[in-house]
Assembly symmetry: C2
Homo-oligomer: 445 residues x 2
Amino acid sequence: MNPSNHALLTDLYQLTMAQAYLEQGMEEPAVFEFFIRRLPPHRNFLMAAGLPQAVDYLSTLRFTSDDITWLAQTGRFSPTLLRYLEGLCFSGSVEAMAEGTIFFPNEPILRIVAPLPQAQLIETRIMNLLNFQTMIASKAARSVLIAESKPLIDFGLRRAHGAEAGLYAARASYLAGFAGTATVLAGRAFAIPIFGTMAHSFVQAHKDESESFAHFAQAQPDNVVLLIDTYDTEAAAHKVVALAPSLLAKAIPVKGVRLDSGDLAEHARNVRKILDEGGLPHATILASGNLDEYRLRELIQSHAPIDSFAVGTAMTTSADAPSLDCAYKLQEYAGRPCRKRSEGKATWPGRKQIYRERTADGQWAYDLLTTSTDGQEGQGLLQPVMRDGQLIAPLPSLTDSRAHAADQLAQFPVSLRAIEPAAPYEVRISDTLKAMTESVDRRAQ
Amino acid sequence: MNPSNHALLTDLYQLTMAQAYLEQGMEEPAVFEFFIRRLPPHRNFLMAAGLPQAVDYLSTLRFTSDDITWLAQTGRFSPTLLRYLEGLCFSGSVEAMAEGTIFFPNEPILRIVAPLPQAQLIETRIMNLLNFQTMIASKAARSVLIAESKPLIDFGLRRAHGAEAGLYAARASYLAGFAGTATVLAGRAFAIPIFGTMAHSFVQAHKDESESFAHFAQAQPDNVVLLIDTYDTEAAAHKVVALAPSLLAKAIPVKGVRLDSGDLAEHARNVRKILDEGGLPHATILASGNLDEYRLRELIQSHAPIDSFAVGTAMTTSADAPSLDCAYKLQEYAGRPCRKRSEGKATWPGRKQIYRERTADGQWAYDLLTTSTDGQEGQGLLQPVMRDGQLIAPLPSLTDSRAHAADQLAQFPVSLRAIEPAAPYEVRISDTLKAMTESVDRRAQ
C-alpha cells in the first residue's frame, strides 16, 4: 500500500467531524493557519519547507472507489459523507511563505481557506508534510552555517523514518544548502546531485584491501573516493599512495578518501600528510560517521584538513529536536474570527500577515505579526499560491528556492547564526491583532 | 513519486559497488546480518519489528525500464550493471527473529544470504525498514509496560516523519501492545482498530460549545467522546452533564470525554467528580497532549481517574532516541568469515545464532550469541523465512505477532521493565564465536 498520496492517510476524527459538518450544513469558508508554537530548545530560527508537496497533495486529493467501499464496510459513516468523499476535490485557496524563508514562532507559513469539511479533512497530511521538511531544513541549515563553504552531503536514508522521510530529508537539506545526497531516488525525483563512495563490506569482500581499492577504481574511474578505515586508517592511506601510480598509468586519478571512524581530526591530519608526501596533494578527504553541527564545528575549529562532510542520522532525524510544536488551527469560520484558549495552547485569531521590518542599513529589525487586512507598507511574507483549487502560477524550482534560502541565511541577524541558543528574534504583535483578539474573547464571554 | 517500493530508494554506492562486483565476477554468496550495536541511553531492551515489510521489499524488488533509462542517462553506470539491474530479482535466503521478540545489542535479527551484488544492493532499504519499526516497537513497549491494562492509542501521524513513518508507527505500536491508532490508512492496510474523537476546531467552528457537542453526538451516536478543553475544561464538563439527558432521550449515550491540555491529573479528578455527580459514572476519560511513558507513569502513580491514553509525537518519533545504532554488516563472503575492525565499530564475524538460556523456573537467565553451526540445545531465535527468493511459509499475522510480543513482555526479566536504565541483560559470547573471531583476525594479519 502506497501511503504517500493516499486520501486515507488521515486521522479518523477528520472523517467523523466532516460527517457532522455536512449534517449541520456547515460548509461555509473556514480559515486554517499552520504555524509553530515555539522553537525547540536547540533552534534560533526555522526555515519553511514542504510547500510543493503540500500543494501536490491538495491538487491530487481523491478518494478512490476502493477507499469508499472500505469506509462503507466499517459501518461508521453516513451515506451523505461517503457521497461527499466520492466527489471530493480541493476547491479552496492557499497562501504561503516561499520555501526557504526563515521564520519564527506564531508566524503562519501556510493558510488554507476552503469549505469547512474540506479544510478540516486535509489537516493531518498538511501538518505531516510541512512539519517534516520544515524541521529538516531548519536542522540542516545549522550545519550549512557552520560548514561555511565546505560541501555537505546527506547520507541519512538508512536511519530515516521510512521511505518518504529519507526522500524528503534529501530534498529539505538540499534546499537548506547541502551539496547533494546519497539517495538515488532523490536524484531522480528532484534532480538533486547524488554522491557516493564505497562501504566497508566492499573492502571486506576482498581478501586484500589494496585489491579492493584497485577494483573500485576500475569500476568507477571518474569517482575514485576510497574508504580507508575498515582495518587501519593510516596503513590504508599508504596503500592508496602505493596504488596511485599504477592507476594514473591507466588515466585513473585518485579523487579522494573517506574517513568514517575514530578521531577524525587526527586521522585527517595523518592522512593528509601521507597523501601529500605520497604525491597526492589534490586527493581530498571526506569525513563521515555520526556527524552533526556540533562535531562539524569542532572539526572546523581544529582546522582538521577535511574537505567535505557527509551528515547522516543526526540531520535526517533532526535528532536533537525530532518534532516541531506545530499547529494547524481554525482562525475564522463563516467570516467570524475565532481562537483556541486551551491552557498553554492559546492562538492568535483571524487571517494574518507578517512583515519583516528592516533597519536603515537593511538588517532585519523585527517581524510584525498583524491581521491580513492591516495594509502595512511592503510585501507581506504570505503570498497567494492556489485559488479555487488551482495553482495561480508555477511554484519556484527547487534550485530557485535553494537560492532564496541561501539569501535568507546570508541576510539574517548574525546573532541567530550561533548553534547555541541566542536571544529570540522579536515577533511583534500589532495593535490591530491584539484588538481583534480582545474582541473575539469578549464575544466568547 | 511513490518512494515506498522503489528500487532506486537506495544509496548511490550500492550501485557503484555492484558494478565493481560484477566486473570482478564477485557473485559468490555473501552473508550480511542486521543488528543493533548498542542500546540507546533510555532503553533496556529492543523489540524486533518490520520483518513483513522487509520480506515484501525483497519479494517485489524490481528495477523498471524507466529506472534503467534514468540510470543510463546519468552516465555513471556500465551496460553490464544496467543489464544486471534490468533482470534483478532477489534470489537469496533470509533467516530472522520472529516479530515481537525482545532482543539485545549484537544479536542479529535478520540474516541475508545471497550473491554479493544482490545482498549489497538491498542494504539501505532493509536497514531503513527494520530500524524504524524496531525503534518504534521498542519505544511503544515502554508505554505499554507502564500503562498496564489501560488502553493506549497512537495519535502521532501529524508529526510522524512523513507518510510511511506514520503508517508503520501505527503498525509497530500496535504490535507492541497499543490498542489501536487514529490513522485510518493503518486500519485499512493492517486491520488495526481505529479510534477518534473530535478536534478543537470542531468546537470553535460553532458559536456555542454545547451546540458543538450536540452536533457531534448526532453525527456519531455510537462514539460520543467529547473534547472539553477548548475554553474551560470544568465548565465544559458541566455542559456535557447538562446535555446528556436530552441525548439519552434519543438513545445516544455519552461514551466519554477527552482532556488535551493543562494539569491532566487535576482536570481528570475534577471532571470525574462532575461526571459522577451528574449521573454519568460510566462516561470514561481519555487523556492526550504531549504524553510519553514518563508522563504516563506520573499520571498512573497519582491515581488520576483516566481510563485511556492517546500517545502521539513522543512515540511516533521515538523522541528520546530517534534512531538506533543499527548495522547491516558483511559477515562472510564465499565461505570465508570476515569482520570490520574500525575503531568503536568492530563486529563479530560469521553466521550467528542466539539461544535464550533460562533458569530452572523458566526465567530468562542470559542469551548466548554463538556461531550458527554450534549445535546448542533448544531452538535458536533466528529461523528460516525465505529460501531461493521465496517465502518458506506465510509469516504470522499481525495479531499473532502481537500476542507473541505480549508473551515476551510478560516473560522477560522484571529488572528490564523499568523505564530508567537497568543493569544490562547479559549477552554471552560463546567460545566458538570467540575462536572464530581470533582466526579471522590472524588470517588478516
